[in-house]
C-alpha cells in the first residue's frame, strides 16, 4: 500500500478522528439521558463516535485505497502564504484598524505573492479596503475597528 503523497489527506482524516475523540471524551462528562429522551450529552457522544467511525472508514476505503499518483496536487506553499497574510491582516485589525490592516494584507498579496506592479497593487488594495470600509460603516452601520489615526 502506497502512503507517499497521501500525507495531507491522512492528516485531514486524523483531524476528524481527533475531533470525534475529543467530543466523545467531553460528552461522557455530560448528562446522557433524562426521562424518556436524550439529555445534553447523548447526541454529542453519538456524533463523536460516528465521526471517528466514518473518518476511519474513509481513511481505509477512500484514502489508503486510492492511487496516490492519480492526480498531481498543487503545492501548498502558495495557499499557506495567502492564509498567513490574511491571518497577519486579521491580527492587525484591532490595533491598526480594518482599513489599514486589510489594505496591507491585500497589497502583500497583489505585489509580493502575485508579483503585480506596485502602483496598481497599491491602488487596488487601498481602493478595495476603502470601499469595503465605507460600505460596511456607512451603508450597513457596522462599527469596523478604527486605527490610532481614526480610520
Amino acid at each position: 500500500m502506497k502512503i507517499r503523497g497521501l500525507g495531507g489527506e491522512l492528516a485531514l482524516c486524523l483531524v476528524f478522528m481527533g475531533t470525534g475523540a475529543f467530543w466523545v471524551a467531553v460528552a461522557l462528562g455530560l448528562p446522557l439521558w433524562e426521562g424518556f429522551a436524550p439529555a445534553t450529552g447523548l447526541l454529542p457522544l453519538v456524533y463523536g463516535a460516528l465521526l471517528i467511525a466514518l473518518s476511519a472508514s474513509a481513511t481505509f476505503v477512500d484514502v489508503l485505497g486510492a492511487d496516490p499518483d492519480a492526480e498531481a496536487k498543487q503545492p501548498i506553499g502558495r495557499a499557506v502564504t495567502i492564509l498567513l497574510a490574511l491571518a497577519a491582516g486579521v491580527l492587525g485589525i484591532e490595533t491598526a484598524g480594518f482599513f489599514a490592516s486589510m489594505a496591507a494584507a491585500m497589497l502583500f498579496l497583489f505585489a509580493v505573492v502575485e508579483k503585480r506592479p506596485v502602483l496598481p497593487s497599491l491602488l487596488a488594495a487601498g481602493g478595495t479596503s476603502l470601499v469595503l470600509t465605507l460600505v460596511f460603516r456607512t451603508w450597513l452601520g457596522v462599527p469596523l475597528p478604527s486605527g490610532p489615526w481614526g480610520f
Partner: protein, 492 residues
C-alpha cells in the same frame, strides 16, 4: 385555480422595483461567478449572506436563487470559449461547445445555450409551481419522527452527491457535531463552550459557510487559475435550421433536468450527463458528437438549468436540499427565521410565490442579457484571478466581522477556511457540513420530541409509515453508490 391566484400574488411581489433590482443583481452576479473560474454560486451566496442579514428575507432569497440559476448560464461561457467549465454541470457543454467555437461558431453555441436555458428554466419553474405545493400539502401531516427522518434523508442524500459517500457522511456528521457547540436550547446547559462567552451562541452559519465556500475556495483556486486563449464570439443568434435542430434536445433536456433535479442526491451535473447521453443515443449520426454537434450543447444546457429549478422542489416543499447551493439557500431561510419544509407554503406563501415568480422574470433577464451581451461577458474571462481573490478575502473578513462585531468569529473563519481548503484539495464535499450545522438543532429537537412521544422507544421511527419510507430512502441514498462502486470494481 389557487395556483393562478398564488402566482399572480407572487408576480405582484416580484415586480416591485426593489425585488426586480434584487433579481437582476442575483442573475447578473450568478452569470459572473458562473463565468469566472475559482468562485462558484455557493461561494457567491456565502459572501453575500452577511450583507443581507437583517434585510427583507424575500428579497434576499430572490437574490440567492438568481445567483443559483444565473450561474448555470455563466458556466456555459467558459465551457464554450476556453473549454474550462465554470461549473461541473457545464462539463458536457464543453465537449461540443468548444468544438463549435474552434469552428468559428462560439456565438451560436452561446446563443443556443441561452435560448435552451431560458426555455428549460421556464418549463422547470412551471414544474416547480405545480409539484411543490401538493408535495408540501401532503407533508403537512409530518410530526417530530417524520422531521427527524427528513433531516436524516437530507443529510444522507447530500452526502451521496459527491464522489465518496463516506467523505460526504463524515462532513455531514462534523457539521452536526459543530452544531452542538453553545447553549443547548432545550436544557439551557452550555456544551463545548470551554468557559468562553463568545462560544455560547455556537458557530454561526455565516461563519462556517463563508469559511468553507469563500476562504476555502479562494485558497484552493489561487494557484490554479491561469489565463487561457479566448476564442471569438461572433454571430450569437442561431439560424432557423440551427433552432430546428435544437428544439427537441432542449425539450428532452428540460424534462430530464427537472426530473433529475427533483430527486435528492442527484443535481445538475448528473442531469447534464444524462441529457448528453440521451442526445447521442437518439441522434441519427452519433459520430458528430464531440466534434461540434449543436444538440450536444442544447440538451445538456437545458437540463442543467431545469435541474437547478427542479432542486428547489424538495428544498422548498420538504426542506431537503438537492445540491450544495440549495443547502446554503436552505441555511439562509433558517437564518431569516423561516422554517423550510412542509409549513413553508402555508406560513410563508407570499415569500415562496414571490421567489417562484421572480424565477420567471430572472430567466427572461438572463436571456436578454446573454444574447446581445455574450461578447461583453466573454471579456470578463480576461480578468486575471490574481486581481480578484484578495478583495474576496477582505470581503469575507468584513462580512463575518459584521455579524456580531466579533474578532473571534474572524479567527474561526480562518480556522474553518483552512479546513475548507484542505477538504477541497482532497475532494471532500463541504456542503454536507454546512447542512449538518444548519439542521443540527432541528434534528436534536425532533429526536427528543419523538422519543418523548414514544416513551423512549426508537421503534416510533419505523412504525410510522412516512418516517419509515423516508428512512428507507435515506438508506438507499447511502447504499446505492456503495453497491455500484462494488460492482464497478475491476477484477484483479
Amino acid at each position: 385555480m389557487s395556483v393562478v391566484y398564488d402566482l399572480a400574488a407572487g408576480f405582484a411581489g416580484a415586480l416591485t422595483p426593489w425585488n426586480l433590482l434584487m433579481c437582476f443583481a442575483g442573475v447578473f452576479a450568478g452569470q459572473l461567478v458562473g463565468a469566472l473560474p475559482g468562485i462558484g454560486p455557493s461561494a457567491a451566496i456565502a459572501l453575500l449572506l452577511p450583507l443581507t442579514f437583517g434585510a427583507d428575507p424575500t428579497s434576499a432569497i430572490i437574490l440567492f436563487a438568481g445567483i443559483y440559476y444565473g450561474a448555470q448560464y455563466g458556466g456555459t461561457l467558459t465551457s464554450v470559449l476556453i473549454s474550462v467549465p465554470g461549473e461541473p454541470s457545464s462539463v458536457m457543454t464543453s465537449l461540443d461547445g468548444y468544438q463549435m467555437a474552434l469552428q468559428g461558431r462560439a456565438g451560436v453555441a452561446l446563443g443556443v445555450a441561452a435560448i435552451g436555458s431560458f426555455v428549460a428554466g421556464t418549463i422547470a419553474t412551471v414544474g416547480l409551481m405545480l409539484l411543490a405545493p401538493p408535495l408540501a400539502r401532503a407533508a403537512l401531516a409530518f410530526g417530530p419522527p417524520e422531521y427527524f427522518a427528513l433531516v436524516v434523508l437530507g443529510l444522507t442524500a447530500l452526502a451521496a452527491v459527491g464522489n465518496s459517500v463516506l467523505k460526504g457522511l463524515t462532513a455531514g456528521v462534523f457539521g452536526l457535531l459543530v452544531s452542538t457547540i453553545g447553549i443547548d436550547q432545550q436544557t439551557g446547559v452550555a456544551r463545548f463552550a470551554f468557559d468562553q462567552v463568545w462560544l455560547l451562541d455556537g458557530v454561526g452559519f455565516i461563519v462556517l459557510t463563508v469559511a468553507l465556500f469563500g476562504i476555502g475556495e479562494v485558497l484552493s483556486s489561487a494557484g490554479m487559475a491561469t489565463p487561457r486563449p479566448i476564442t471569438k464570439v461572433g454571430r450569437v443568434f442561431p439560424s432557423k435550421a440551427e433552432l430546428r435542430q435544437s428544439t427537441m434536445p432542449v425539450m428532452r433536456g428540460s424534462l430530464i433536468g427537472f426530473l433529475v433535479g427533483v430527486l435528492p442526491a442527484t443535481g445538475a451535473t448528473i442531469a447534464s450527463f444524462l441529457a448528453y447521453i440521451v442526445e447521442k443515443k437518439v441522434a441519427k449520426d452519433p459520430s458528430r458528437f464531440g466534434k461540434g454537434a449543436i444538440e450536444g450543447v442544447a440538451g445538456p444546457e437545458a437540463s442543467n438549468n431545469a435541474a437547478a429549478a427542479g432542486a428547489m422542489v424538495p428544498m422548498l416543499a420538504l426542506g431537503v436540499p438537492g445540491s450544495g447551493t440549495t443547502a446554503i439557500i436552505l441555511g439562509a431561510l433558517i437564518m431569516f427565521g423561516i422554517r423550510p419544509g412542509p409549513e413553508l407554503f402555508d406560513k410563508n406563501a407570499q415569500l415562496v410565490w414571490t421567489v417562484i415568480a421572480s424565477m420567471y422574470v430572472g430567466n427572461l433577464m438572463l436571456l436578454v442579457m446573454n444574447l446581445p451581451l455574450a461578447g461583453l461577458f466573454a471579456q470578463l474571462l480576461r480578468v486575471p484571478y490574481s486581481w480578484l481573490y484578495p478583495p474576496i478575502l477582505a470581503l469575507c473578513v468584513a462580512g463575518v466581522y459584521s455579524q456580531a462585531n466579533s474578532i473571534q468569529d474572524v479567527w474561526m473563519l480562518l480556522g474553518f477556511g483552512a479546513l475548507g481548503w484542505a477538504m477541497m484539495r482532497y475532494d471532500w464535499p463541504a456542503a454536507p457540513m454546512v447542512l449538518g450545522l444548519v439542521l443540527g438543532s432541528i434534528f436534536e429537537n425532533a429526536l427528543r420530541q419523538s422519543m418523548t412521544l414514544s416513551h423512549g422507544s426508537v421503534s416510533i421511527f419505523v412504525t410510522r409509515p412516512i418516517s419509515a419510507v423516508l428512512l428507507a430512502f435515506a438508506a438507499l441514498a447511502v447504499l446505492t453508490p456503495v453497491i455500484l462502486r462494488y460492482y464497478r470494481r475491476p477484477v484483479a
